[in-house]
Every structure is written in C-alpha cells, then in structure tokens.
C-alpha cells in the first residue's frame, strides 16, 4: 500500500500474501474486539457495584435520607423499607438491584414521582443535541488549530493559540456561561440582548420556525461548551503532531517536491489524528462535567439540568440513576472508539 506505483507482476505476486494477512487481521481484530467488549462489560459491572455501594455509604437510614428528613409514620417507613428491599440481606439487595438495573428499572424519582428511566429518556435527546453539536465543533476546532499550531510551533500564532486555549481551559465553564448570558442575553450598556437566557424553545413555534428557535437557544450553550473543551483537543493534537514532526517520511514527502500544505494535510496530520481521537474519547468523562454545568446555567432541559435538580433535593434514586447512565454512556462510547480504532490504524489490534 505504501509504494506509489508497484508493477503489475509485483501486485500479482503479493496478492495471496495480502489475502492471508487480511484473514489473520480479521481473527486478530475479532480477538481484539472481544477483549475490548469483555473489558467494557467488567467496567460496567464495576459501575453497577459502585452505584450500589456508594449510595449505601450514607450514614443512617437510607429511607430517612430519601424522604429528605420529612416526618413519616412508622407504617410508611416499613412500606418504604420493603419497597426498597432494605429488610433483605445486603447480597440479596445487590443482586436484586443488579437485576433491576440490567432490565432497565432504575427506581422511582422521589421528586417527580416518575420512573428514573422515563426522566432520563425524556431528557436524553436534548442532551444529545447539545453535546453532539458541541463535540463535533470542539473536536474539529481543536484539531485544526492544534495541527496548525504544531506546524509552526514556537511562532506567534502557536503562542497565541496555546495561550488562549490554556486560559479558556482554566476558566470555570459555568462562569463563562453566566458571563455570556449577561453580555448576550441580558445585554450590557447599549448592547441589547441577542439570545434567549435559557431553555430550549420559546414555545408555540411549529415546523421550520421551531427548528430555528431551538437553534437560536442552542448557540450560547454550544459556544460555552466549545470554548472550555476545545483547548484539551488542541493541546493533544498539537503534541501528537509535534511527535511526528521529525519523521523521515515527512522529509521524503518534501523531497518529492510536495507543497508544505500538502505535506501537512496528507502526510503528517493523518498520523497525528490517531492518538488525538483516542484522547478525545478518553476525555469524554470531562465533557460530561462540562455538559452538566452548561445545562444547569442555561436551564437546558437535558440530563445535566436533571442532575442538578436531583442534587438540590437531593433526589437519590435520580442521582444514582444518572450516575449509572453517565458512567455507562462514557464506557460504551470509549469501547466503540476502541473498536473503530484498528480500522483507522492497522497497526493496532493485530
């Protein structure tokens, strides 16, 4: 694949070998994939166990904590104890809880008096819209700026880029969100408010107008999330490309007479992308934190906003359910990235 124009005979001679290699790669990939999926299953079980024991760390009677200290009668107490299975031995509680969680029963939210799963599935599309848009934008922005920075490393552009990225990275996302609301929604001095202060829709819109309305609400949260998250991608992409900078294949590409721009885009960046992609997914956990804060600040009706509502009560079944969901989602996304990775980079997963 690496030679530019192999002769026809060479291709013919190489063909069986290539096929044999492909077959080996396929079993290798299966083994690699099975390993990753198995690891993910163990991780998910660990999340389940953490969810169970974490919410039994609570000092005192869990029922009393769940009711938020409100006075309840002895019968109610007994009913709750039976409902939550607190009269059973611990191991049996654990197996019950696992069985329920695996069949999609995460308990009942105390504050909304609705199944936790229903609340999550209601809020999920909104979060996916916000996070997905931001994720695509900050990954692209980070990679583009990071690779440009590394290509001219040490230059003014590089210093400005990394400086800005580090500064934005040090800013609390919720604070940036609040400031953006003040400047662009409430308005400062002569500047009028351009964007809504929060929420996802104004209500009463239909069809295309509705889409525009949601997009209008989406801009500020997405800008906040992109601003605080792109720095990480930028730094990773930058150092990944810096690692490639001295490579011989780049000298070869230049010696062939390729333009500098082509050497960067076609030769250097693809190799630097691979470690960047892995780290973008490993850092998803951090993004979850950003999403929670941004949704809270902008009253976005997603999972993060729900998490904040659950915290302030505290509505423990909902906190627990969301904890399980966030952790499981991040693990699943990472496993998917692991599974796609060997397809991008044939050196992995042999």
């Amino acid at each position: 694949m690496t030679a530019d124009a192999p002769s026809a005979s060479a291709v013919k001679a190489a063909a069986p070998a290539v096929r044999g290699q492909r077959a080996r790669t396929a079993t290798g990939y299966l083994r690699y994939g099975a390993g990753k999926v198995g690891g993910a299953a163990v991780s998910l079980l660990a999340v389940l166990a953490t969810g169970f024991f974490l919410f039994r760390l609570i000092p005192g009677d869990p029922v009393k904590t769940m009711t938020g200290g409100r006075p309840i009668s002895a019968e109610q107490l007994a009913a709750y104890r039976e409902e939550f299975g607190l009269d059973l031995p611990l191991w049996q509680q654990f197996t019950d809880y696992c069985g329920k969680a695996l069949t999609g029963d995460l308990g009942t939210s105390y504050q909304f008096r609705a199944p936790v799963v229903d609340k999550i599935s209601e809020a999920l599309p909104n979060t996916l819209l916000l996070t997905g848009t931001a994720f695509v934008l900050y990954t692209l922005l980070g990679i583009v700026l990071g690779t440009r920075s590394a290509w001219r490393h040490g230059g003014l552009g590089d210093r400005l880029n990394t400086g800005l990225a580090l500064t934005l990275y040090s800013i609390p996302s919720f604070w940036l969100g609040l400031l953006l609301i003040i400047v662009f929604s409430v308005g400062v001095g002569p500047v009028p408010g351009l964007f809504p202060t929060g929420g996802m829709e104004s209500g009463g819109e239909e069809g295309f107008a509705y889409v525009l309305d949601v997009a209008h609400h989406l801009i500020l949260p997405v800008v906040t999330l992109v601003a605080v998250e792109y720095g990480q991608t930028l730094l990773v992409a930058r150092s990944a490309l810096l690692d490639e900078m001295g490579s011989d294949y780049l000298t070869t590409a230049r010696a062939k007479g390729l333009r500098d721009d082509l050497v960067r885009r076609r030769h250097a960046v693809p190799n630097a992308l691979l470690p960047t992609v892995t780290l973008v997914f490993v850092n998803l956990g951090r993004t979850v934190a950003g999403v929670i804060l941004v949704e809270t600040v902008f009253s976005w009706p997603g999972l993060g906003g729900l998490f904040y509502q659950a915290l302030s009560v505290p509505d423990l079944p909902l906190v627990q359910g969301l904890f399980l969901f966030f952790a499981a989602a991040v693990i699943v996304m990472n496993t998917l990235a692991d599974l796609v990775y060997p397809l991008l980079d044939p050196r992995v997963g042999r």
Binding site: G39, V42, S43, A46, V47, T50, L54, F55, L57, I58, P59, H153, G154, D158, R159, T162, L166, T167, Y169, S170, I171, P172, F174, W175, L176, L178, L179, I181, I182, V186, G187, V188, T197, S239, L242, V282, L284, G285, R286, V288, A289, I292, L293, T296, V297, F307, Y308, L311, S312, P314, L316, V319, Q320, L322, F323, F326, A327, V330, I331, N334
Partner: protein, 305 residues
C-alpha cells in the same frame, strides 16, 4: 575535584545533600528561562500572600451576614470597590476571604490525589504481575469515568463539609498521576543500579523508597502543580452546584450566591466577574508553573515557553 574530596570526607549524607542542592540550583536556572512559568509563580505568590494575610487586611468578620456594612446589591463605589453582595457584605473582602478556602481545598485535594496516585503508580510499577494488572485496570476505569459525577455523588451522600469536598476530589482525580508515575517507575526500575540494590539485599521497601521514589519525585512535583489547578476548579464547581459546605465561603460559593440572588438576569456583572477571574487566574497560574516544571524536567515535551 577538591570540593568532592572534601564532601567525601564529610560522609555520604553530606555528599547527597550537596548534590541535591546543586540540582535544585540547576533546576531554578532552567526554570528561570520560562517566562510563562515565572508569571505563574508571581501570580501564585501574590494569591498566597493575599490568602495568608486576609485576617489582617479584611478582618475575620467579613463574611458575617448580621454586621454587613452596606445595602444589598450595591454597585461598585469608592467605599466598596467591587460592590456588595445580596446581604450587603463587601465583595472585595469576601473575594479575599474566599481565597483561603479555595486555595486550602485545592492544595489538600491535590495532595491527597497525588499521594494516592504516587502510591498506586510506584507499587504497580514495582510489583509486576496480577497485582499491577488489577491496579492498572482500576486506574483505567477511573480515568474514563466522568469523575465530576462520581465526586458529586460522593459529596451528596457524605455529610456536607470541606473534608468531604477534599475527599471527593482527591479520590476521583488520581488516575493520571498513577499512570505517569507507573511509567516513570518502570523506566527507573530497568536501570542497573536497581539490580545492584537488589543484589546487595535491598528489599521491596528499600528499592521503592530509596531508589524509585526520589527519581519520580520531580514528576510528582510537576503533577501536583497541575492537580492543584484542577482541584481549585473542581472545588469551585462543587460549591457552585451546592454540594459543598454551605456555611463556608469560597469563590465557587460566591458565584452560586450571585446566581441565586439573580445577579445574572439583572445584569449585575460586578457580582459575577471577580470570583470567576480569581478562579481562572489561580488555575492558570498553577497550570503555567506545572508546564514550566514539566518542560524543565522533560525538554522533549515541546511545551512552548
């Protein structure tokens, strides 16, 4: 030549100290060439001074609600340079006072996190086999987990106090340190002098504490500086979400107060801007220092000056 001979006569301990002092001087000389690192260091010194002298400059009763000197939500004036909060307290005083909790929690949480990370990293690098495998699987699990969610969950179920916040941040943020320290431990343990130490009868504890630990310490120092930065941010986040101790005043708590008091919708920017800038400046200063230390120790990293 003569100095070394003299030191040799003074005993191996004095020699070791002399070597350490020399390497510290060399470290400082290289650190000095990083302008961003110096700026960060100056920022830190300033904030440390502010936090330590706060009882003298703003007084200990600045956060008392009952004796508030001004009217609620005043805009900045000569008397209150940053305005007043929703109880009429002086915001400048609160900002200075809040630095104490923010920095304290940041330092303690970073110390806890780095201590866990170093222990896990050194032991996982030293004892190979099943123990290391299991430990690194746990580390990877924590690395991928949304740690803020875990920290919040922990802070929700435990009693609300600063200790809880320190614990919640510390026990969720150690995996990066563990990975780095383990890699460094593996590199150190492959060197011949470790083999020599083992051949001379050095046990696990001796090798880890006398040979591996001093060699990973510089890395740990850089990592601690970076961890403080993220711990300060994490503390602000937890306080803003209201899972910290509500009776203690910190920068994150100030921001939560501001939001609850409606400073956002009424456009009272002076209530919101200073605490956020303080958080960002402290976090940035620690990050700059950490990156400068990192690039002194490992010039290959290509960190810009």
């Amino acid at each position: 030549m003569t100095t070394e001979a003299k030191a040799g006569a003074a005993g191996p301990r004095a020699l070791a100290w002399q070597r350490r002092r020399r390497s510290a001087v060399r470290f400082w000389q290289q650190y000095r060439t990083h302008r961003a690192g110096l700026v960060g260091l100056a920022g830190l010194a300033l904030f440390a001074l502010l936090a330590l002298t706060a009882p003298l400059t703003v007084g200990t009763d600045v956060s008392s609600v009952t004796g508030a000197p001004g009217r609620p939500m005043e805009s900045p004036s000569a008397e209150f340079p940053l305005g007043t909060d929703r109880f009429g307290r002086d915001l400048l005083g609160l900002l200075v006072w809040g630095s104490r909790v923010s920095l304290l929690v940041g330092l303690l949480a970073a110390a806890l996190s780095v201590a866990i990370g170093t222990t896990v990293g050194v032991t996982a690098g030293h004892f190979k086999g099943a123990y290391a495998t299991v430990l690194m699987r746990i580390t990877d699990w924590f690395l991928v987990m949304p740690t803020l969610v875990l920290a919040i969950a922990l802070a929700t179920v435990l009693p609300r106090s600063l200790g809880t916040v320190v614990l919640a941040i510390g026990v969720t943020s150690w995996p990066t340190t563990a990975r780095l320290v383990r890699a460094q431990t593996l590199a150190v343990e492959s060197r011949p002098y470790i083999e020599r130490a083992k051949a001379l009868g050095g046990g696990h504890w001796h090798v880890m504490s006398r040979h591996v630990l001093p060699n990973v310490m510089p890395l740990v120092l850089a990592q601690t500086t970076l961890m403080i930065s993220s711990s300060v941010l994490a503390e602000a986040t937890l306080a803003f979400l209201g899972v910290s101790d509500p009776t203690v005043l910190s920068w994150g708590g100030l921001l939560q107060d501001a939001r609850e008091a409606g400073a956002v919708s009424s456009g009272n920017w002076w209530y919101l801007v200073p605490p956020g800038i303080a958080i960002a400046v402290v976090a940035l200063a620690f990050t700059l220092c950490g990156r400068a230390v990192e690039s002194v120790l490992n010039p290959r990293l290509g960190v810009g000056r």
